[in-house]
């Protein structure tokens, strides 16, 4: 019997169905297989005894919070096309996974373990281009042209000045000092130009690498991927979608989690309608994600993760979950 159990475990270890089993609320790991190590970019032979040993996970704290919430809720959680960030060869990769966590209960009703499976899915943004490389190439050409042009003036002054002083030995001390000051001013301008241009280009570059995507393109992707089981999908009513200047992966994460939180509390998902709308004020954009359907008395799992995500973008999260009112307010500072 023991031999049979061991060979089953060996099979599970080699399986590419990524599986990890947690054995405590501290997320001690009782079992982790090759498939899970691969998705989470963990080297084959490293000792992993706790969730916190998964060093390549960039957002480990946030995921750990989510797992603990699931442990405490004693209810399974399924998230489709959920983003996780892992570090591999010094690069941060965003992977999208279907994730399922199943608490296993003691006879007394408390959680004794959790089985966690992941399956890597296609990046929802594959095939959707953001900033075309031709735009980036043009901007680089313009930047280098401008820098090259702007540097030539102070370099002209410095060059002329040095050449003149070198060739005119009969210059008076006073004239020579005047020339030296002019040359020094020019060289300081060169330094300032380079610093300013580089600082500006970093600001521009950070906007480019933010990898923004129009929210009108993003939202259908989220709604399409959030419910792989089409028969258990709610209806959606979409109002105004005000543009947000944030990284597309981050926006995807925020909105998919917000929609999932609202859906968790619905008594009957397939007959419910989820509402999405937004409002702009002087200093902020507020998104409302809600439902007018009857809610269950269900502790929402994932709130802390969403709170942290909103905090990371200097925003706020408000949850109204009582009686007939059921909405999440995401407030983004402009």
């Amino acid at each position: 019997m023991k031999n049979k159990q061991n060979s089953v475990l060996d099979i599970l270890l080699q399986s590419s169905t990524a599986t990890v089993i947690y054995t405590s609320t501290a997320l001690d790991i009782g079992f982790i297989n090759r498939g899970m190590r691969t998705i989470l970019a963990q080297p084959k032979d490293t000792e992993i005894s706790k969730f916190t040993d998964l060093a390549a996970l960039v957002d480990a704290d946030s995921l750990a919070n989510l797992l603990v919430e699931i442990w405490n809720s004693k209810k399974p959680m399924v998230l489709a096309t959920y983003p996780i960030k892992v570090t591999s060869r010094n690069h941060v990769l965003v992977k999208y996974v279907d994730w399922e966590v199943q608490p296993i209960l003691h006879p007394d009703g408390t959680t004794q373990a959790m089985i966690h499976t992941l399956k890597e899915v296609i990046n929802p943004f594959d095939g959707i281009t953001t900033a075309p490389t031709s735009t980036v190439d043009t901007k680089l050409a313009q930047w280098s042209h401008t820098l090259s042009h702007d540097l030539r003036n102070p370099l002209s002054v410095a060059k002329l000045g040095m050449q003149y002083m070198h060739s005119r030995k009969e210059l008076s001390t006073e004239d020579r000092e005047k020339w030296v000051r002019v040359v020094l001013d020019a060289l300081q301008n060169v330094e300032k130009l380079i610093t300013d241009k580089l600082a500006n280009s970093r600001t521009e570059a950070s906007k480019e690498t933010k990898d923004a995507l129009a929210i009108a393109t993003l939202m259908p992707l989220i709604l399409q991927n959030a419910w792989p089981d089409q028969s258990a999908k709610p209806r959606f009513e979409i109002g105004t979608l005000v543009e947000l200047d944030l990284d597309k992966h981050l926006l995807y994460h925020i909105f998919s989690l917000a929609i999932h939180l609202v859906a968790q509390s619905l008594q009957d998902i397939s007959s419910a309608t989820i509402l999405l709308d937004s409002l702009t004020s002087d200093r902020s954009i507020t998104y409302f994600v809600g439902s007018d359907s009857i809610v269950t008395d269900h502790q929402l799992v994932g709130v802390e993760v969403l709170k942290k995500l909103m905090c990371d973008v200097d925003g706020k999260l408000l949850i109204n979950h009582s009686g007939k009112n059921n909405f999440i307010e995401l407030n983004f500072n402009i």
Partner: protein, 123 residues
Amino acid sequence: MAQKKVFICDDDKGITDMLEMVLELEDVATITETDSVYAYDKILEFRPDILIVDLWMPVVAGDQLIRKIRANDELKQLYIICISASRDGMKVATEAGADKFIAKPFDVDDFLTTVENAVISTI
């Protein structure tokens, strides 16, 4: 180079100051202007013999100024030296009607030789 008047127009004050210093030490009278908007009227007022003008300036670009000057018969004797950091400067300057083009950054001797030749041609 005595008694010749040179008008220097460049939006960079470092350039106008430097060229003014170089030319004054060579005993040339200079007038400078960093705002190209006022350059044409000043040229009409001072009637220089030689104009040294940058191409890439805000509001009124150097080639626009040169074209306006060439359209005025009263200024047809004005010798125009165009200076520029722009890679396509020579083509633009020549098409606008400049007599000579010098690319920045330039050698002091090349610059002075060009101005000397300009003086000779305006005698």
